[in-house]
């Protein structure tokens, strides 16, 4: 599996994503600068966590207008896999690659802690290595992870099996405990928790490894 990690000026989980991809694939991902308007030939694009352009405006709003995101959209349109983690999820909703929006956490505070998630769906490239209904623990670290969409959209997401992760104890007020969702074509996943911080037993556990293994199996 060939991969790329997008680097915005204030991305700050770009290295974590790179290290996780190296660990899991044995290959270094391409690090793609936000002003580049073309992507290298890759199977997976990761939009990492961080604060893209400072996020003084809505998180990810400016990033959605960046040159590199035009290239990411065209990659997704062609069926290429895109994984948006945390700020990456926010960028994906702002770019309309995923429906809904991420609002300020219901508690109005940044929240950083390991959270238990239910794998709600395993029929896709990202979570095929998990069992449906399995519990996994990933860290969250965000101030604006409160997922919102209108009821019709939420019903549709659920009906189409596009809700992939749900919080067992909702840390941010997200509608229907949604932690991660798929695009209609099931090739774009956005999630607030950090699977890339869960690949090392010394730090955040190893529950995230199966997500990367799933992608390697599906995309190689």
């Amino acid at each position: 599996m060939k991969s790329a990690v997008i680097v915005f000026p204030a991305s700050n989980c770009d290295r974590d994503a790179k290290v996780a991809l190296e660990e899991m694939t044995g290959k270094s991902p391409h690090m793609v600068w936000h002003q580049d308007s073309e992507l290298p030939d890759v199977d997976l694009v990761v939009i990492p966590g961080g604060f893209s352009y400072g996020d003084y405006l809505r998180c990810g709003a400016m990033a959605s207008q960046s040159p590199v995101m035009r290239a990411v959209k065209s990659h997704a349109d062609k069926g290429g896999a895109v994984l948006g983690i945390c700020n990456g999820f926010q960028v994906l909703t702002e770019s309309h690659l995923l429906p809904g929006a991420l609002m300020r956490n219901a508690g109005l505070k940044f929240v950083c802690k390991p959270v238990a998630l239910t794998v709600a769906e395993s029929q896709n490239a990202f979570t095929r290595g998990y069992d449906k209904g399995q519990t996994v623990t990933f860290p969250v670290a965000h101030g604006e992870g409160n997922y919102y969409a209108d009821d019709a959209t939420l019903d549709r997401l659920e009906g189409e099996g596009r809700v992939v992760f749900r919080y067992q104890a909702n840390p941010n007020g997200s509608a229907r405990d949604i932690a991660g969702i798929l695009s209609e074509k099931r090739n774009v996943l956005g999630l607030m928790p950090h699977p890339e911080r869960a690949v090392d037993p010394a730090t955040g556990g190893t529950d995230g490894r199966a997500l990367f293994k799933s992608l390697i199996e599906a995309l190689s």
């Binding site: 290290v19 604060f51 400072g54 940044f110 911080r197």
Partner: protein
């Protein structure tokens, strides 16, 4: 031109004697711009004029020390060509006036101190002291400071991994916000601030200069009164996005060999950075302010020199490398300008709009700054063992203590800090020391901040010793070898002989302990004048300690891990209740002697425990401090996560007559460990053979803490008490306890 009147001199925080000295040094009267420059360079904050004579007594050298105090941060060798660069600094005064921005810019400032030397910051710590919970401002200040630290540090992508938080009425009008940054660099790529050589370009990069923060350093060198909130405009405004760009761009520039010297613009901004660089390099500096990137129009030389706008750096480059540097800053969309040149005149010359606005010998600003041997009175230390009610219930007291403002879980705070970004955090907040792996290696840095202001008030000398000893103990308790420390000395007004006495005795105590424990001070900061309306804070010399774990797989945490482990107490228990948490929370008094610190015992016990962890025999260890043995045991149970919500223990004691004194006494040099039975027998025998006091207290297991076979309390109940206080307090549900 403005005439310099005595009133203007006083407004600049300079005494008539100091003004006379300036005139002698210049051979003429200064103009207003020069007076402004002197006022910040000679401020307590920049010149350490009250403490310098005493700080010289601290040990600053050691086999692994690469750079001690005097640079932007201290540097130590951690092996394999890696260096650890760290420092702690206060942002007390601004944080009281404007808690969010005060704390945020404190974080930003200390990060710049570390990356300006070539290190990537890898961990942040914070030592915070607030007024009593019931004070009308406390909740607002806690909320603002925590948001500010998180807002800045989270955006930077540097994990905030721990620290300490306390409440005491002496901080009602003067909170303390001490931020520590730890970074990692290569020993062959460390950058210093000495602007050596003449004819080299002086370059400015980062954010533009505005009118914010003018005279921040002078404000930080004065007492507060009721009108202090009028000083809000002197508080700087932070932009973590700009700092993130500055960090990456600076490290990218450092990967070239273009830099001769570099310094961040912190307190006193452009003035202090240029004067310090010239001073250290033995050169002169000529600046043309017309070239300074400006955020506002019509700024005067005075304003530009004294602005404390954030996220700015000054560097001296090798001639001809300007374009290479400019390209890097252009990529990161930061301002870059050549604003001056180094000279061989030894003078700081400032030009603006074709006029020379200031022309001063640099040594007059630095070396010639006054050093005061302020008169001091060494107060007689508090003495005696306080009387107390021996009939009280031990479990009830424990429950109350674990929910006390001083002891309750700080989860409400640290869950607002990203403590796992960079994916190297091995021990998260809540343990004895934070542990952060050195990226891509098996080794790790352990980091702690410590001081017990109650002890320091009762006995500044023993309190200073204790702060150092406890920092070492927290590092030993995770299995790390203590390497070096940074000190952040927070005190009241040094012009009061009794306060000066606290400073002198505190520094002496720190020095004695650092020498005994081979724990040199490599960087630090003094924050004096922490007084409001004449009321000083408790003496608070915070120690930030750094230790090294050679193999992160051989590490201890405080959590009980297995049922059936033997609980062993290392170190002697005499039942010292003077100045203890028990006395304060249960009896409502702060009195008696502070616990004495036996440095030989600290060294011996620390090495013993460290050895057990380092050779993989012990994975469960906790330092015994506030609240004594029973609070430490409760913390070990609470940190565990058994199937039933925590592993309990059944413990008893037979060594001293009074149960309360045994369980809650705060004798020093003690550790609790828990180890499987077979291992425990050998550990006890080895401790005895080494002449170390050791006692088996009991075994882990069950869901309760069972004390002396007769009393018990459920771990779940302790958890509710311990975790409940902070969120309830911040939600305004709890009627705050006065202390």
């Amino acid at each position: 031109m403005t005439e310099i009147t005595p009133a203007i001199v006083a407004e600049h925080g300079l005494s008539p004697d100091e003004y006379a000295r300036i005139k002698t040094l210049l051979g003429r009267a200064p103009n207003l711009v020069e007076l402004g420059v002197f006022s910040v360079m000679w401020s307590e904050h920049c010149s350490y004029k009250s403490t310098r004579a005493h700080l010289r007594k601290l040990p600053t050298k050691g086999p692994h020390v690469i750079q001690g105090p005097g640079e932007n941060a201290g540097v130590i060798d951690i092996g394999d060509g890696d260096a650890c660069i760290f420092k702690m600094e206060s942002h007390n005064h601004p944080s009281f006036i404007e808690p969010y921005q005060g704390a945020a810019t404190g974080v930003g400032g200390i990060m710049r101190d570390v990356f300006t030397m070539g290190a990537r910051p890898v961990a942040m710590m914070n030592a915070l002291r607030f007024g009593e919970p019931g004070h009308p401002k406390t909740r607002h200040l806690v909320s603002g400071v925590v948001s500010g630290i998180g807002g800045y540090g989270n955006c930077m992508g540097v994990p905030t991994v721990g620290g300490e938080v306390d409440f005491h009425r002496s901080y009602n009008g003067n909170i303390l916000v001490n931020a520590m940054c730890v970074g990692v660099a290569k020993t062959d790529n460390i950058f210093y601030s000495a602007a050596k050589g003449a004819g080299n370009p002086v370059v400015y990069f980062g954010s533009k200069t505005g009118r914010d923060g003018i005279h921040g350093a002078t404000m930080a060198s004065a007492e507060f009164d009721d009108a202090s909130e009028e000083k809000r405009p002197t508080v700087q405004v932070g932009d973590p996005f700009a700092e993130k760009l500055l960090l990456e761009a600076t490290l990218e520039l450092m990967a070239t060999d273009a830099i001769i010297a570099i310094q961040d613009m912190g307190a006193a901004g452009l003035t202090s950075s240029s004067a310090e660089m010239g001073d250290k390099g033995g050169s002169g500096i000529e600046l043309n302010l017309d070239s300074v990137p400006q955020r506002e129009t019509g700024m005067t030389a005075y304003e530009m020199l004294l602005s404390e706008s954030q996220e700015r750096m000054l560097a001296v480059l090798k001639p001809g490398r300007e374009a290479q540097a400019e390209a890097i800053f252009k990529k990161w969309e930061l301002d870059f300008a050549v604003i001056g040149i180094t000279t061989d005149t030894g003078r700081l010359v400032i030009k603006h709009k074709g006029r020379v606005e200031a022309d001063m010998p640099i040594t007059a600003l630095s070396d010639a700054a006054p050093v005061y041997e302020r008169p001091f009175v060494l107060r007689e230390p508090a003495k005696g063992a306080p009387a107390y009610d021996k009939s009280r219930s031990v479990p009830a007291a424990l429950e109350k203590i674990m929910a006390a403002p001083a002891m309750a879980s700080r989860r409400w705070i640290w869950e607002q800090y990203d403590n796992s970004v960079m994916n190297d955090t091995v021990q998260h907040p809540g343990g004895d020391a934070a542990v952060v792996r050195v990226h891509g290696t098996r080794k790790a840095l352990a980091i702690t901040t410590d001081v017990c202001p109650r002890y320091c008030k009762a006995d500044p000398f023993e309190g200073g010793k204790q702060a150092v000893a406890e920092a070492c103990r927290n590092l030993n308790a995770v299995g790390a070898t203590p390497l070096a420390a940074t000190d952040n000395l927070n005190f009241g007004n040094p012009q009061k002989p009794e306060i000066m006495g606290e400073i002198v005795a505190g520094i002496d105590g720190i020095g004695e302990a650092c020498r005994a424990l081979d724990f040199p001070i490599v960087s630090g900061n003094c924050s004096l004048y922490n007084e409001t309306n004449g009321e000083g804070i408790l003496p608070t010399p915070t120690i930030g300690g750094v230790g090294l774990l050679k193999d992160v797989s051989k590490m201890a945490t405080i959590a009980f891990k297995r049922e059936g482990d033997v609980v062993i107490l290392i170190g002697e228990t005499r039942g010292h209740l003077g100045q203890s948490i028990w006395l304060r929370e249960i009896e409502g008094r702060e009195e008696g002697a502070a616990p004495p610190v036996d440095l030989a015992a600290e060294k011996k016990h620390g090495a013993f425990v460290r050895g057990l962890i380092g050779n993989g025999r012990v994975d469960t260890c906790h330092d015994v401090s506030d609240g004594g043995v029973l609070a430490a045991l409760a913390e070990m149970a609470l940190a565990s996560c058994g199937k039933t919500g925590g592993i309990g223990a059944s413990v008893g004691q037979a060594s001293i007559a009074d149960a309360i004194a045994f369980w809650f006494g705060e004798d020093q040099a003690r550790y609790l460990i828990a180890a499987p039975f077979a291992q425990a027998e050998r550990i006890v025998a080895e401790a005895r053979a080494a002449g170390i006091a050791v006692a088996e207290l009991g075994k882990t297991g069950g869901t309760d803490l069972v004390i002396d076979d007769k009393e018990r309390i459920a771990v779940a109940r302790l958890r509710a008490a311990h975790e409940g206080w902070f969120p309830k307090f911040m939600a305004g549900e709890e009627i705050p306890v006065t202390n």
